[in-house]
């Protein structure tokens, strides 16, 4: 496949920036101790991948992100389906949800630390808290938006509750639910890195902080660029899956990287 004109044009500015960066640092205009230079970053990345340290950190970050996301998905989907099907219950629980939702997930970092100590569990719990709201809200809205006649059909066929959920509700609401899940997965990665940067001694966030503190800017930038690449790949992958599974690719990117 030939790269499109769009791709080529998009590459112009990054390439120019990298060349200017390298040249500026070799000419002594840019400070090495904070800016490093692309060639050093490349060799730091090479070493990091060769000795497995970056891959290990990547695994730790992803493990926490996926664990937290999975917990949030189970809770958010189940609660969302139940609340979506019973508006009366939703009206009763709704205000509590509205009160908990604005709490910034990072405010729970100290709490999670107190409960679980350092490690995977505290990180995943903060991630789960951050991810559960978009999934819950979108699922409620998706279930609420199902064509009422479909539900009448289910009732006419005398389906059991679980059959109704599996055969009617989930397929009918899937398109919008996938949007919520996609949003949540993006949030999971962001929160994972944030928790690691603030205090959890594991993963890429901690790796970057450590590189900064030990005055190895090239390693810090190598991990930063790698992280950007992971974020981008995850985004593309979920966009592809969403378009594939849910038919219409509903673009929620405009919502931005909410935490």
């Amino acid at each position: 496949m030939r790269p499109s004109r769009r791709t080529l044009r998009g590459l112009v500015i990054p390439i120019v920036l990298f060349i200017a960066w390298e040249a500026g640092s070799r000419a002594g205009i840019l400070p090495m101790d904070t800016m490093s230079r692309p060639s050093d970053i490349a060799s730091a990345a090479h070493t990091g991948f060769a000795d497995g340290s970056i891959l290990l950190a990547t695994w730790e970050t992803c493990e926490a992100a996926f664990t937290g996301f999975a917990i949030a998905a189970v809770i958010g989907l189940l609660a969302g389906i139940v609340l979506g099907l019973t508006p009366r219950l939703e009206r009763i629980v709704g205000p509590t949800v509205d009160a908990l939702r604005p709490i910034p997930a990072v405010a729970l970092i100290p709490l999670a630390l107190m409960l679980f100590g350092f490690g995977l569990r505290m990180e995943a719990s903060v991630i789960a808290f951050a991810c559960v709201w978009p999934i819950l809200i979108v699922t409620i809205a998706a279930v609420r938006g199902i064509e009422p006649r479909l539900l009448e059909v289910a009732r006419a066929l005398e389906m059991s509750f679980f059959a109704r959920v599996l055969k009617i509700i989930v397929p009918a609401a899937l398109g919008r639910i996938v949007v919520g899940l996609r949003l949540a997965l993006g949030i999971a990665l962001i929160v994972a890195v944030t928790v690691e940067i603030v205090l959890n001694p594991r993963g890429l966030g901690h790796g970057m902080m450590g590189a900064q503190q030990s005055l190895r800017p090239e390693l810090m930038y190598a991990q930063l660029l790698w992280l950007a690449l992971i974020g981008w790949l995850l985004n593309r992958l979920t966009l592809f899956l969403a378009a594939h599974w849910a038919g219409g690719a509903i673009d929620v990117d405009r919502a931005g990287p909410a935490l």
């Binding site: 998009g10 500015i13 009763i92 509590t96 509205d98 405010a107 940067i197 900064q212 930038y221």
Partner: protein, 254 residues
């Protein structure tokens, strides 16, 4: 009317049930009061902080931190977004790079900011501004790029000047996108304010709750979380209010 009252009563009863269970659990030692201080203890702590004025300084510090970074980001985001959105060439060259950078967690630039600016207030403001600019910027690019072609023709046929087109047509038509972006940006600004306070030991609610945890003063920790939740809620409601005012024309009775 009675149904409405019943719903409100139900909602209150649900909250009361949760808090009551928690209170009783703490009272009878079913859950550890070290980790889960009773709601009453938390509220007492909060009331005490309000009474002796200990709450205001960190609350003000965090709020100002959030607002400054967010404000700078919003202005810059709209201006840069307009420039990119209105020029097809700029979009072709810059959009792929923006798309690559967008999923980058905003907090990931903290180490970079620290190495440039140290553990300082400027570092915090820079990180907040960097993090909260994305939703505004992308929304503005989208909003300015998708001005209805019919409106473009209207402005041509009225011979509007460039400035009039920008000010009277493009900006108002991008406004719904921009306001949505600004609102998301404010949420991010609060999060990054808390994160940078924790990271750089800057005065504010973020540092307070971390210190409370380190000295196992869990009522203080919970009180801080409650205040942060309220701050987030109020900030969001304020922007929603502005949105409702400015976008009155969007939700009108037929």
């Amino acid at each position: 009317m009675t149904r409405r009252l019943a719903t409100i009563a139900g909602a209150l009863a649900f909250v009361a049930l949760l808090l009551g269970a928690w209170q009783l659990g703490a009272l009878y030692g079913a859950i550890s009061p070290i980790f889960f201080p009773s709601p009453v203890r938390t509220l007492e702590e909060l009331a005490k902080q309000v009474a002796d004025g200990r709450l205001w300084q960190p609350l003000g510090a965090t709020t100002m931190r959030m607002l400054w970074g967010w404000f700078a980001a919003s202005i810059a985001g709209v201006v840069i977004g307009a420039a990119i959105g209105l020029s097809r060439t700029a979009r072709e060259y810059l959009e792929p790079m923006l798309e690559f950078l967008r999923p980058l967690p905003a907090s990931a630039v903290i180490p970079v900011a620290v190495s440039f600016l140290g553990l300082s207030t400027q570092m915090s403001t820079a990180v907040i501004a960097f993090g909260s600019i994305w939703p505004v910027l992308l929304a503005a690019v989208h909003g300015f790029a998708t001005v209805d072609p019919q409106l473009a023709e209207v402005s041509s046929s009225l011979c509007l000047t460039r400035w009039q087109r920008l000010w009277k047509i493009a900006l108002p038509s991008a406004m719904p996108d921009i306001l949505a972006g600004v609102r998301v940006g404010l949420g991010i600004a609060l999060i990054l304010a808390v994160v940078t306070e924790m990271q750089a030991s800057l005065p504010g609610l973020g540092q307070n709750i971390l210190l409370a945890q380190r000295s196992f003063k869990s009522p203080e920790l919970y009180a801080g979380v409650v205040v942060l939740g309220m701050l987030g809620f109020i900030a969001n409601q304020l922007i929603l209010g502005i949105e409702r005012r400015l976008l009155r024309w969007r939700a009108l009775p037929e």
